[in-house]
Symmetry: C2
Subunit: 306 residues, 2 copies
Amino acid sequence: MNKTGRPQDLPLSNPRADRVRDVAKLAGRPARLKRGHFLVEGPQAVREALKLHQERLAGGEPGVVTEVFASEACLDRYPEFEDLAEGTNARLATDEVLAAMADTVNPQGIIAVCRFVDVSLDTVLDAGPRLIAVLCQVRDPGNAGTVLRAADSAGADAVVLTASSVDIYNPKAVRSTAGSLFHLPVVLGADAAELAAACRARGIGILAADGYGSLNLDALQDENARRRLTGAGPASAFDLGAPTAWLFGNEAQGLSAGELDLADHRVAVPIYGAAESLNLGTAATVCLYASARSQQEPAHGETTHE
Amino acid sequence: MNKTGRPQDLPLSNPRADRVRDVAKLAGRPARLKRGHFLVEGPQAVREALKLHQERLAGGEPGVVTEVFASEACLDRYPEFEDLAEGTNARLATDEVLAAMADTVNPQGIIAVCRFVDVSLDTVLDAGPRLIAVLCQVRDPGNAGTVLRAADSAGADAVVLTASSVDIYNPKAVRSTAGSLFHLPVVLGADAAELAAACRARGIGILAADGYGSLNLDALQDENARRRLTGAGPASAFDLGAPTAWLFGNEAQGLSAGELDLADHRVAVPIYGAAESLNLGTAATVCLYASARSQQEPAHGETTHE
């Protein structure tokens, strides 16, 4: 089994080697900021990182993966990594070394070191986005990663984290994205007011997800559907099919008064039962899917009714 | 500040006392099964437990809270607990004792011991439910709790966990429900095939949430809306407004072949971006909200269009 791409050297086997410690240090923010690199653990996330890496190289751009460490067993189980890792700095490593490098207990046989992948706000806005998820002062890495993954699922064009949000390169956040961190552009450290002004200048509507919002998301969807399907009913307060930036707030406090003021509308996901609130990840999913559906739907409606 | 309900004794202050250890043991399954009691931590969850307790007592039924332990500071901050805990076996405790009792690092000043609250499948089905969330072999306590909370938000009438699912009385699962465990009936240890047969016998449709499903949830919602709003368009494969049990599978493997076979339809939440999948909590939320909207909508539609 000596396919192209499989590292030929002996596996790294000393968990106390400097090289291993250097990788392990990336679990901490100071080392990440100093080096501009972060840890990616497990087959799914490393696969998505390597796909982006190869795409970038094919397009003449710099890659994102600087090192890959994998066990023999992992390469036997996922032979695709031999091609995907071609041209990267790939090394075999023992499970003990991988465990010493990893933040998680079990990196499932493979770890990559990647360059930061975030882009500037202008880069995102200049591409003419239709759907943006903005995380305002979100503090829990698992929540941030879950929302990024949900945004990817809903086909969002970008995710923006405002200043004083959690570091998306935190290993737990990276794990929670399940590879989505490599699928759509991410902007870090944005100023919410600047972001709102820039969106408004480009005709992107701003909706705040807010449990106390006066607009009910399901009523808004109903209005949108009725107008589209029947041409009747009241004009909708907001066209969910239009370019939209959704603001999502801190998991404990929600959006601040200042952040709420930046929005065109405050929209509540309705609670049909007795729950006090939805958690951040689930509320964001419902909001982003509502936009995604509306942005997809005109084609269906026209086909059947025009 | 000697309001009714505030315990008058000196606070429990010995974290090594037998009574404290007995409470702490409820973090483990053997002690829970032996005693039929579980731990509830933090003001939000304890508040919801006490509300249910008082409702039950008012209705002449046995209560659910057997003991409450709270710090003076917590009762100062949340004075409503003095009324809510009236008639329960409530004791003041030091923060050190509360920390020794708790599974979490910080129980935020209050802990309750509750009787198991699960009910039988027949109890749930005899009440004529319209929306049921069924967790099939879900293993992560946080996921199970998150789906239960989402089901509560979507107004589901019950949550069913099949045999070999995680124990919903695990402290992490209880925390993730954010009090919703006390809002809607929960059935434990159900047999999926028996459940499906019982649902079918009562005219409850069964949908399997399955990333490979042939029905697209958003297309299904569109068909439902078009039929309702215009009377035109193709008949929908499934009326989302009808009584429905949603099957959600294990977080890693999804639903088994046997579980999929129990469903009337396999329904996929569409992925508009590059994500491989949604996580369990977010997928379940989208599915349950789709049903909730459809079950609410007829009233709106009739008002405007009949």
